[in-house]
């Protein structure tokens, strides 16, 4: 049993010690899955690293007790601690792509781990490894074990990672975001596996995640953390169903529900930041609404196919052709939001790039408003669509040029499209636009790195709007953000859409988010449209199996818990 008491972790820095973890208490019993939730910066991973003794330098444990069974983890010598790792405590990392040594076979890595903690022969260790892989759900394990990591798919690789973590029968496993890098279907399998292992083998799990739905599915107990402190802890049902702490309540409010559509997210301190809704007479708003033709503009794709040349595998063989999009047809009705759903590799981003002209379709036609939209290189640099279509990107950390001031970033479209000639006027308008998206206008003189992810995404939205677009593509605009920030950005997008009559293509892998945003939905899989239709209809009564499994496998809060909030 793991017991953490009064844990304090500090990171010395030149501005004095920074306290990352403060007075954290927690116990995890054998066979128990203990969820550790919180947004970025909450210190979840730091707690996990401290328990396994791999705290990143120069962090150190300032005070508190850490014990596993009768062993005081803080009293171990480095050699003892290393011997204990793997043997009694193990760990699962987030990204299965990078957590296995690419140069060694699965077999070598398993045998090496088993032999590090038990005095067994090679044959014995191999037999144990094969059994384990079978148990974990890898078919034909005796053969597959000879493979190298790159020969497994992402989900299989995460299974191998789990096999490596449990091959020495540890008492405790720290799983740090074990499903974040995986697709929904694989996610639920891995979660099932973890639940099974906890039950069958009586392994205690510390499940670190930001995914509240996943926690609700499998965790026995939950600890909610924020900025290094425990906000609330208890039975999962109690914490997520009847939260007592206001932070937990706010967190749960921000989680988009999959089973219904809500008008707006409840965001606790929005009243101060969301001047967005109450900006009558804002200069930017007036400017945007003063655009000549204000009629909403739709976009339709007709049988768009995109093919890529695969890598040439042999000189005498033709390179294989990869079909990223296969005769995709869809329609974004003027003034509405079309949600595009799909797992990784489904072709979502290719679709966005095709519409914006970065990728040329192999065949098919695109129409923006009443005009045909030329694709790829055929669309010259001065084509009107370059202004009419704007995009909000996924990663707010890379979508703004970090060497340019916010003022320059926002003034660029105004200058580039020739909207405003006067430099001073451009800056004024940019400042007004910042106010419109809920930011302080003085941000103009700052650089992107001075802002948080959510603030940057607001700036990115402002930049898109300053091009006076008629059509907006949002490519996973919130997937890099914490859930409470996500709620704010989604609210903002909804407000702006209704105010300016924009047509939006909203791309996401998150079904719940799409349900909150979209009027119509298209489900994409391997470049083919599986299902499309009006949003509410599709979510309530999916007709295609793929959509059904996707919906059923998305981890959500049980409905009866939600009624309590």
């Amino acid at each position: 049993m793991l017991a953490i008491k009064d844990l304090c972790i500090k990171f010395p820095s030149r501005f004095g010690d920074f306290t990352a973890i403060e007075d954290v208490d927690m116990t995890i019993k054998p066979g128990e899955i203990h969820g550790l939730v919180g947004e970025s910066g909450a210190g979840k991973s730091t707690v996990g690293a401290a328990v396994i003794g791999l705290l990143a330098a120069p962090g150190y444990i300032a005070k508190g007790d850490l014990s596993l069974g009768d062993t005081d983890l803080r009293k171990l010598t480095p050699a003892q601690a290393h011997a204990l790792r793997g043997d009694r405590i193990s760990m699962i990392f987030q990204d299965p792509q990078t957590s296995l040594n690419p140069l060694m076979t699965i077999e070598d890595q398993l045998i090496e781990t088993i032999q590090a903690h038990a005095d067994v022969s090679d044959t014995e260790a191999r037999a144990r490894a094969v059994d384990l892989l079978e148990e974990i759900g890898i078919k034909n394990a005796a053969q597959r074990i000879k493979s190298y990591p790159h020969q497994f798919s992402g989900g299989m690789r995460q299974r191998v990672v789990i096999a490596l973590a449990i091959c020495t029968d540890p008492e405790l496993i720290i799983a740090d975001e074990p499903t974040t890098a995986l697709d929904v279907a694989v996610q639920s399998q891995v979660l099932d596996l973890i639940r099974r292992l906890a039950k069958d083998r009586q392994i205690a799990f510390m499940l670190i995640t930001h995914d509240i739905g996943g926690i609700a599915q499998i965790a026995d107990r939950v600890t909610v953390m924020r900025q290094g402190r425990v906000m609330e802890t208890g039975e999962t049902r109690q914490v997520l169903g009847a939260p007592t702490h206001p932070y937990t309540r706010a967190l749960l409010d921000a989680v988009p529900p999959l089973d219904r559509r809500i008008a707006r997210f409840r965001v606790p301190d929005e009243s101060s930041s969301a001047t967005a809704t109450a900006t009558k007479g804002n200069q930017a708003e007036t400017w945007l609404l003063a655009g000549e033709k204000h009629a909403p503009m739709g976009l339709s794709l007709d049988q768009i196919t995109v093919q890529f040349q695969g890598a040439r595998s042999a000189l005498w063989r033709k390179p294989e052709v990869f079909r990223a999009l296969d005769e995709v047809s869809l329609d974004v009705r003027p003034g509405t939001i079309l949600g595009l759903v799909g797992e990784s590799g489904s072709g979502k981003s290719t679709l966005a790039k095709t519409i914006t002209g970065l990728i040329a379709p192999t065949s098919g036609t695109m129409t923006l408003g009443d005009e045909t939209l030329p694709g790829g290189k055929a669309r010259n640099r001065h084509h009107p669509s370059r202004q009419l279509i704007q995009m909000v990107f996924q990663d707010p950390y890379s979508s703004l040029n970090s060497r340019h001031k916010i003022g320059a970033i926002l003034a660029e479209p105004l200058w580039f499209y020739g909207f405003v000639q006067d430099q001073k006027e451009r800056q004024e308008l940019a400042a007004a636009m910042l106010a419109l998206v809920g930011m302080q206008p003085d941000a103009i003189d700052k650089y992107p790195h001075q802002f948080s992810g959510g603030q940057r995404q607001r700036i990115a939205v402002a930049r898109a709007l300053l091009a006076r677009p008629r059509f907006l593509i949002c490519d996973e605009p919130t997937s890099a953000l914490d859930v409470s920030i996500q709620a704010e950005i989604l609210n903002l997008l909804k407000d702006l859409q209704s105010k300016f009559g924009l047509s939006i293509l909203f791309i996401s892998h998150n079904l719940a988010v799409v349900r909150q945003m979209a009027d119509d939905v298209v489900v994409l899989r391997n470049g083919i449209i599986e299902e499309s239709g009006a949003s509410e209809e599709l979510f309530e009564r999916p007709t295609v199996d793929y959509t059904k499994t996707l919906l059923s496998q998305t981890p959500v809060l049980p409905a009866q818990w939600q009624s309590a909030t």
Binding site: A116, Y148, L164, R312
Partner: protein
């Protein structure tokens, strides 16, 4: 995998062709070959006849084709200066340079790799800081100064080692080797160290940087979390992964070894190709310059092909097909 090697082979051929072209252009356009070959007393008519005989009036492409064809058959033309066949001149000089280069490269690897590993595993230690500072000074001292310093200390002041020439050599077939006599080794030592020091510092810094990068990777952290024994962790997991990029760079470094062998050979009067090249530059002996170029490029290409093969041997991602 076959495709990967084949692709590299084609690239190598391209590089060789380009270098051959360079050598040919040198020969053809830098100075007039006819005036170089004939004396002042040769009449203009004779010169013209020679020009026609040698095919120098043929179309450019044809001449280049012939030039390349001759090269492939081992016919490298004649030196303007000594009137000897260039092939012979180079052949007698090759062993000296190769022995020097290989011993220098060995020194740089045998010292550089362990030092790089050591400093990567103890990034904050005092010994590491000292080694790093020393190597920084090491890369900053020009090779010829290192040579002069070694000559001054071990040759002049202490009188332990010879300061020029190859010492005793043994003839094995066409290969004149200094690796089989003590005298030969004594003569080889200072030049090889001179040449090796610079490469050594580069190798060490590279291994260190790559190793530190690898040590931070997820799979090392995961191996750490599984309690894989430290020795295994460092040498089996980390070092193996470090070697993948390091090997590539070492292949590229071979070029550096050859280049600086020119300097080293000049300082120690080491009778290798570099010295020959220097002489040929001084006397504008174009054919020798051109052939030297081609030979060096050939070695470079060859070493890089070997590197590619090693690459395939180390990295299963290049060897084994994706199953899933």
């Amino acid at each position: 995998m076959v495709y990967f090697i084949l692709k590299r082979l084609i690239q190598s051929v391209f590089v060789m062709l380009a270098v051959a072209f360079l050598a040919f252009s040198l020969f053809r356009f830098v100075g007039d070959p006819i005036t170089q070959m004939t004396g002042v007393e040769t009449s203009v008519a004779d010169q013209e006849r020679l020009r026609e005989d040698l095919g120098l009036n043929d179309p450019f492409i044809l001449q280049f084709g012939r030039f390349t064809g001759d090269m492939l058959q081992g016919d490298f033309g004649f030196s303007y200066r000594t009137r000897q066949p260039v092939a012979e001149m180079i052949a007698t000089r090759i062993p000296a340079t190769i022995e020097l280069g290989v011993v220098a490269l060995l020194i740089s690897l045998l010292v550089g790799v362990p030092a790089g590993v050591f400093t990567a595993l103890r990034p904050r230690g005092i010994a590491t800081q000292a080694i790093l500072m020393t190597t920084l000074v090491g890369v900053s001292i020009p090779t010829f100064v290192i040579g002069i310093m070694l000559i001054f200390i071990f040759g002049v002041q202490l009188g332990w080692l010879p300061t020029f020439g190859r010492g005793g050599t043994v003839q094995i077939g066409n290969w004149e080797s200094s690796l089989f006599t003590i005298e030969g080794w004594r003569a080889l030592l200072l030049p090889a160290i001179t040449l090796g020091v610079y490469q050594l510092t580069l190798t060490m810094r590279l291994v260190r940087a790559e190793m530190m990068e690898v040590m931070r990777s997820d799979y090392i952290r995961f191996a750490m979390a599984r309690g894989v024994p430290m020795r295994k962790l460092h040498y089996k997991h980390a070092l193996a992964n470090t070697m993948v990029p390091v090997i590539t760079i070492i292949g590229l470094q071979f070029g550096g070894v050859i280049a600086f062998s020119i300097v080293t050979e000049s300082v120690f009067q080491w009778p290798g190709m570099g010295l020959l090249f220097l002489e040929s530059i001084r006397f504008v002996d174009i054919p020798v310059m051109g052939v030297y170029l081609v030979v060096i490029a050939f070695f470079f290409v060859l070493v890089n092909l070997i590197v590619d093969l090693l690459y395939v041997a180390i990295d299963p991602r290049l060897r084994v097909k994706d199953v899933s």
